[in-house]
């Protein structure tokens, strides 16, 4: 009995972690969704996983839909759109993009940011993480800044070598201006102007990694 148990445990450890992760995701989806909806979502999730795309954001979207009592068709549609966004994000950012970057980029693309803007952002910061610039860009769009203005603002700030904390401060300032009643486009221009006055478009700073200490 005991040797058999050891063999079973050894086999369990040998099962690829990804397969176990998929099983866990499938089980979570089946537990929260109707069987046919779960089946449709799992199909999309597996297809995305086969392409090497992150699947956790897709499962999260489906579970969110279930909690918000969305219709079955809406849940499947949102998951399908998000999977399409992740695929487009990888096209724009390249195969080395991390899951968090792909997820943030997928959101930006679904909000109407064009793929070439993401590619420009990648060129502006080839080595560092793009998660924060993408989150800031998406936040601007969500707060009513036109997509072109939002893209130009974040791109100009990133090209100027603004580190992530500076981008976050710029987001807060622009948010405050919009709360005070300023037009989103004007607020984003002023926010960028303030950031550039402090950061300065120095090439040296632009070449430094975004997470370098001592900023």
């Amino acid at each position: 009995m005991r040797p058999r148990l050891i063999w079973v445990l050894a086999l369990l450890l040998l099962v690829p972690s990804r397969a176990r992760g998929e099983e866990s995701e499938d089980a979570r989806l089946r537990a929260r969704l109707k069987p046919e909806t779960a089946g449709a979502v799992i199909e999309i999730v597996h297809a995305a996983g086969a392409q090497g795309l992150p699947t956790a954001p897709l499962v999260a979207r489906a579970l969110e839909g279930a909690s918000r009592q969305a219709s079955d068709s809406a849940i499947v549609e949102v998951v399908r759109r998000h999977a399409g966004g992740l695929a487009a994000a990888r096209r724009a950012l390249g195969p080395s993009a991390r899951p968090a970057e792909l997820d943030a980029a997928a959101g930006a693309l679904m909000a109407g940011v064009p793929e070439d803007s993401l590619a420009s952002l990648k060129k502006a910061r080839p080595a560092g993480s793009l998660v924060i610039p993408l989150i800031v860009l998406s936040d601007f769009v969500a707060r009513g800044v036109p997509v072109t203005s939002a893209s130009n603002t974040v791109l100009a700030a990133t090209r100027a070598g603004a580190p992530d904390p500076a981008l976050l401060r710029m987001r807060e300032r622009i948010h405050e201006r919009i709360l005070r009643g300023e037009a989103p486009t004007g607020a984003s221009k002023e926010g960028l102007r303030e950031l550039l006055m402090k950061t300065g478009p120095t090439e040296e700073r632009g070449r430094r990694g975004p997470h370098e200490k001592g900023r």
Binding site: R28, A60, S67, A100, M110, S138, D139, L168, E176, R180
Partner: protein
């Protein structure tokens, strides 16, 4: 017609017959009431101007003045606060530890009886992660250990109202009607 009917008619007629001088008496009563109202109004106006209308012990007067000053100061402070420039509330606070980061969510919800946070970190379960009310009343907080990475979340007020975090960046798309908030942990900082 029976004698009883005749008697009934007689009583009814007597009841309906106006009394002598009734009309004059009614007019006199109305005139008297009008005069009473005018005298009362005059007395009321005189009271406000009469220096001896109100008498009060010095201690009671001082207490009244203190209460009035306190009310004035409180109202003034509220008015000043309303004129303060609008600023976004602070973003969630985080303490990093390995590949997980403990994030403190803070949310103001006046009048709420229960506030929870739902996000991809708890399977979007609207009851899984309740916030605790801070002693001051309107503010709710929760400390949640999160895996490093990108997270989306929303607050759920009284189990029915989903609302984004006013301090955090918004998710770009309102997939199910209302936007979520976005949180990044483990990138040298928390967003």
């Amino acid at each position: 017609m029976t004698p009883r009917d005749a008697w009934d008619d007689e009583v009814r007629e007597a009841y309906q017959r106006p009394l002598a001088g009734e009309t004059e008496a009614r007019e006199r009563a109305i005139a008297r009431l009008r005069g009473e109202d005018a005298r009362r109004a005059a007395r009321s106006a005189e009271w406000w101007l009469d220096p001896n209308a109100l008498t009060m012990r010095p201690l009671v007067a001082a207490a009244c003045m203190l209460v009035a000053l306190a009310i004035g100061a409180f109202g003034g402070a509220r008015w000043m606060a309303s004129r303060r420039p609008v600023t976004a509330p602070p973003a969630p606070i985080a303490v990093e530890g390995g590949d997980r980061t403990t994030v403190t969510f803070v949310f103001r919800a006046p009048g709420a009886t229960r506030v929870c946070v739902a996000g991809d970190f708890n399977g979007w379960d609207p009851d899984a992660t309740p916030l605790t009310r801070v002693a001051t009343g309107d503010t709710w907080t929760a400390r949640v250990p999160l895996e490093n990475g990108l997270h989306t979340y929303a607050f759920v007020i009284d189990g029915r109202e989903w609302t984004p975090d006013p301090s955090a960046p918004l998710a770009p798309v309102a997939a199910f009607g209302r936007r979520n908030s976005v949180l990044v942990v483990g990138e040298d900082h928390v967003l």
